[in-house]
């Protein structure tokens, strides 16, 4: 129970924290967007839970997928807007969308454990440990980006592109899950090399949307999002 909670918390928090660390490196002169995002996310996570049951039952039980697709697409669009120059509003949108995804999943996980015999204490301990480990990784990530930025600014563009590519692959995976896109055969199976069960697999999944058995649609969307953001980054650098 304790280990499961730690793993779930790390897995859900990492995408938000890695995005946050990258945005902080990108916009270290202003922090207004951070407070705005925190406020908006808090409001959404207070307003949304009572409607969660109704949302999940929408569209033949695919409502939650549509909500998650919207969040991933919002993040991807926000990254495009960010590179087009509107950094403050884009950062708020990206962070809120990712925090919403994380918040809903943690809320649902919390519902399974809080109040049940023998598990409440383990749950809270696991949650604290998960938040602690996730925050530690984010701090290390922030410092690592700062060091790499000294070598080349391109690193930040690469990180944004990887985060964007994750949104692309997650979107098409969810569309496949609700039968809006075809699911093809896996192009390869790299689970022997890096399994999605392992810590490295979880980290890679949170960082750039790692899939051990991707199909053509998933790979295509990943590459397209990655290349588009990288091209926008280069365009922005040329413009500046």
């Amino acid at each position: 129970m304790l280990i499961n909670t730690v793993l779930v918390y790390i897995r859900e928090l990492l995408p938000v924290l890695l995005l946050l660390a990258t945005l902080l490196r990108l916009q270290h002169h202003s922090r207004r967007w951070l407070w705005q995002s925190t406020f908006l996310t808090a409001v959404m996570l207070i307003v949304l839970p009572p409607w969660l049951g109704d949302i999940t039952q929408l569209a033949d039980g695919t409502g939650l997928e549509w909500l998650f697709i919207s969040a991933h697409l919002s993040t991807l669009i926000a990254l495009f807007i960010l590179l087009a120059g509107r950094m403050n509003s884009a950062s708020v949108l990206a962070l809120c969308a990712q925090a919403l995804l994380c918040g809903i999943n943690l809320l649902l996980y919390g519902l399974t454990n809080i109040g049940t015999d023998n598990s409440t204490e383990s749950f809270w301990l696991g949650a604290v440990l998960g938040v602690g480990i996730g925050a530690s990784i984010a701090v290390i990530w922030y410092q690592l980006l700062a060091e790499l930025q000294r070598v080349s600014q391109f690193i930040l563009g690469m990180m944004l592109a990887l985060i964007g590519a994750r949104q692309g692959i997650e979107t098409v995976t969810l569309l496949g899950q609700i039968d809006m896109l075809p699911s093809g055969e896996a192009l390869w199976d790299s689970s022997a090399l890096v399994s999605e069960h392992t810590e490295v697999g979880v980290f890679f999944q949170a960082w750039f949307g790692y899939e051990a058995t991707p199909d053509m649609v998933q790979l295509g969307s990943w590459l397209m999002s990655f290349i588009l953001i990288l091209m926008l980054w280069q365009w922005r650098r040329g413009k500046l």
């Binding site: 499961n4 779930v8 969660l52 049951g53 999940t56 039952q57 033949d60 039980g61 695919t62 939650l64 997928e65 999943n105 649902l108 996980y109 519902l111 399974t112 454990n113 049940t116 995976t173 496949g176 899950q177 609700i178 039968d179 809006m180 699911s183 055969e185 689970s191 399994s195 999605e196 069960h197 899939e211 051990a212 058995t213 991707p214 199909d215 998933q218």
Partner: protein, 122 residues
């Protein structure tokens, strides 16, 4: 404009046929266990799995092999679309109770699937 409208209606109709023509299977979650724990499905076909969560708490159907992750709230149901799949075994588990909620989706080749259907009719 009319042509565009008709094309849109046709696309919607084809998508609907695609969704509704799938063979449906039921997977029940009760006491944090999947039932059946071994679900047999045919190879090379698109299928629909109806997840019925009879527990009071939510569960998340997760499968790395199938690239699927689906939350089902307590005392409710959800639908999962899969396939076409190659013959083989695909593990899945309940992400919120991974120690107890475990199962395997067994995809059978066409001849074995037909044989299994005949045995069950007999």
């Amino acid at each position: 404009m009319t042509l565009l409208y008709r094309s849109f209606i046709l696309c919607c109709a084809l998508m609907s046929c695609n969704v509704f023509s799938r063979q449906e299977f039921v997977l029940v979650i009760k006491d944090h266990l999947f039932s059946p724990s071994h679900l047999y499905v045919p190879q090379g076909q698109k299928i629909k799995i109806r997840l019925l969560n009879q527990d009071a708490t939510p569960e998340e159907f997760e499968s790395f092999a199938l690239n699927r992750e689906k939350v089902v709230l307590g005392q409710s149901e959800a639908v999962l679309y899969l396939g076409p799949l190659q013959a083989g075994e695909y593990g899945f588990f309940g992400d919120f109770h991974p120690d107890s909620a475990k199962g395997t989706l067994i995809v059978l080749p066409e001849n074995e699937w037909i044989q299994r259907q005949v045995e069950h009719v007999d």
